[in-house]
């Protein structure tokens, strides 16, 4: 327990030294945001939580273990619907799907996400009011509400109730322009710290999967992602959004690597995918899933798919301002890496 206290204290100290001139309240709130962001890498816990988005409610159990070397081990077990168990050892993810007798294996690279970088935290403040609100109590733990309120209607708000010692969010909400919660996450049973054994982060299906020779699907391991100048850019970005990533990547079910650009305001991220148009687009071009809006549009010989956890207008503005920087795009789509002119 002492170790975790030390880690939490260190994280808080680092955050404190790196937050630049803000008023005291905002600085304090940003420190809490940093602590929340760090908690998944610093805190061991086990518990049961509810995740809700739109009309769907999911209950799952989680064991999350961080060892002294910083390795993260995790097991998730769904409590409703079909049985699913997902085991993670750092970036190595194995999902057991008993009804299909399938084991999915994939790698999740641990990225340096914009908001994880301390110097980027203050980038949030032009777009959001970050405030520390009231103390609260959840499942026997003391927590404090941190609110991230957008200054315009181009982005969603967030609210977290962070456990006082660890910063672990006991509840997290995404709030839309009408102050409605579009996604929420909350523990209703939680144990912080505690002793872990390997059994706790091992799937109970592991033996059965081997014995019954479940199909092992490793196709996700072949996903390629490479930094590149894709030749595409958004000419009219919503206020506060900047390009945070530009790669060519493969996507399951598509034969070729395609441009993938990411625009972020530090908290929300919006992805843009560009691919050759192979057929006419369906009538419904705007869809959503929880806090995520998806918008598809034709652009000459290409199809642009834009999605992110932001209001529809923001996603559509980016989609509508996508332009090819390269005239050659209209002749030889640069989604074909081997043919694209340099």
């Amino acid at each position: 327990m002492k170790f975790w206290l030390a880690v939490a204290t260190t994280a808080a100290t680092i955050a404190a030294t790196q937050v630049c001139a803000q008023d005291a309240g905002t600085t304090d709130a940003l420190e809490w945001l940093k602590k929340i962001a760090d908690s998944s890498r610093t805190v061991s816990y086990s518990g049961t939580f509810v995740y809700q988005h739109g009309s769907r409610v999911e209950t799952s159990r989680v064991v999350h273990y961080v060892n002294q070397a910083g390795g993260v081990f995790e097991k998730l077990v769904t409590l409703d619907g079909p049985q699913r168990e997902i085991v993670r050892a750092n970036d190595h993810v194995t999902a057991y799907i008993p009804d299909a007798k399938v084991v999915l294996i994939e790698l999740r690279s641990t990225r340096h996400l914009p908001v994880m970088l301390p110097e980027k935290l203050s980038d949030l403040t032009p777009q959001y009011d970050v405030r520390k609100l009231d103390a609260d109590r959840m499942g026997g733990f003391e927590c404090v509400w941190i609110s991230v309120v957008p200054k315009d209607k181009l982005r969603y708000g967030r609210k977290f109730c962070a456990e006082l010692n660890s910063g672990l969010p006991l509840r997290a909400q995404v709030i839309n322009e009408n102050m409605q919660v579009v996604e929420s996450f909350g523990f209703f049973q939680l144990t912080l710290g505690g002793n872990f054994s390997r059994d706790q982060v091992t799937s109970r299906y592991e033996g059965r999967a081997q014995l019954q020779k479940w199909r092992v699907d490793r196709s996700a391991l072949n996903v390629m992602e490479q930094a590149a100048d894709t030749g595409w850019a958004a000419s009219n970005l919503p206020a506060g959004f900047r390009k945070s990533m530009e790669v060519k990547r493969t996507i399951a079910g598509r034969p070729l690597a395609m441009p993938h650009l990411v625009y972020s305001d530090g908290l929300a991220a919006i992805s843009v995918f560009v691919e050759p148009k192979v057929r006419e687009l369906p009538a419904k071009l705007l869809s959503n899933q929880g806090a995520i809006h998806i918008y598809k549009r034709a652009l000459g010989e290409h199809v642009v798919t834009v999605l992110g956890e932001a209001p529809a207008a923001t996603v559509m503005q980016i989609a509508n301002s996508m332009e090819s920087k390269n005239v050659a795009n209209s002749i030889a789509p640069n989604t074909v890496p081997n043919i694209a002119p340099k």
Binding site: E58, T78, D80
Partner: protein
Amino acid sequence: MQGSENVSSLMDGELTVDEAAREIARLKVSEGEVSNRETWDTYHLIGDAMRHGNSGAGVPVLSAGFSARFSERLAQEPTVLAPRATRLLPVKSRFQTIALSAAASVAAIAVVGWMALSNVKPDTPGELAKASVAAQPQIAAVAPQTAAALIAAAKPTAAPDHMHEYLLAHQGISPSTAIQGVAPYIRTVSNAGD
């Protein structure tokens, strides 16, 4: 924890008559830190809260004194012990009922969405779906004026199947999923049964 899983199964009607009877008996006794009865109440409270829409404000889950009035009414009713017949239904239809929360993981926080979609069509009738009419997107009313008309015309529909891959690729880079302490992973399982 075994206790709460059993309670969950009991609520979902997944237990046999014998198992259910045993669980109901266990609901009456205290066990460990959190009794099964508390777990049962908590699960239902959560379900109720979720089904009553998102705002939470001003929407009482149960009116004051509901339990007392209910107990009173219940005492006057004849006792009918009729376990749910889920065991007798074909596997497929049982799946459709419970698949609403098909889901994934915590981690899943952001990923659960499309996993759920991959297992159940958006228009699948179900208790939760019917109960939460409030979850309709509110786009037209809230969009900035510049795009309002366009968006009103393009009312979002539920994400279609072929969007899973994009959603997956996107989840990996979204900072807000990281800040929720949730490492999103696992790709779509829609083709897992192939």
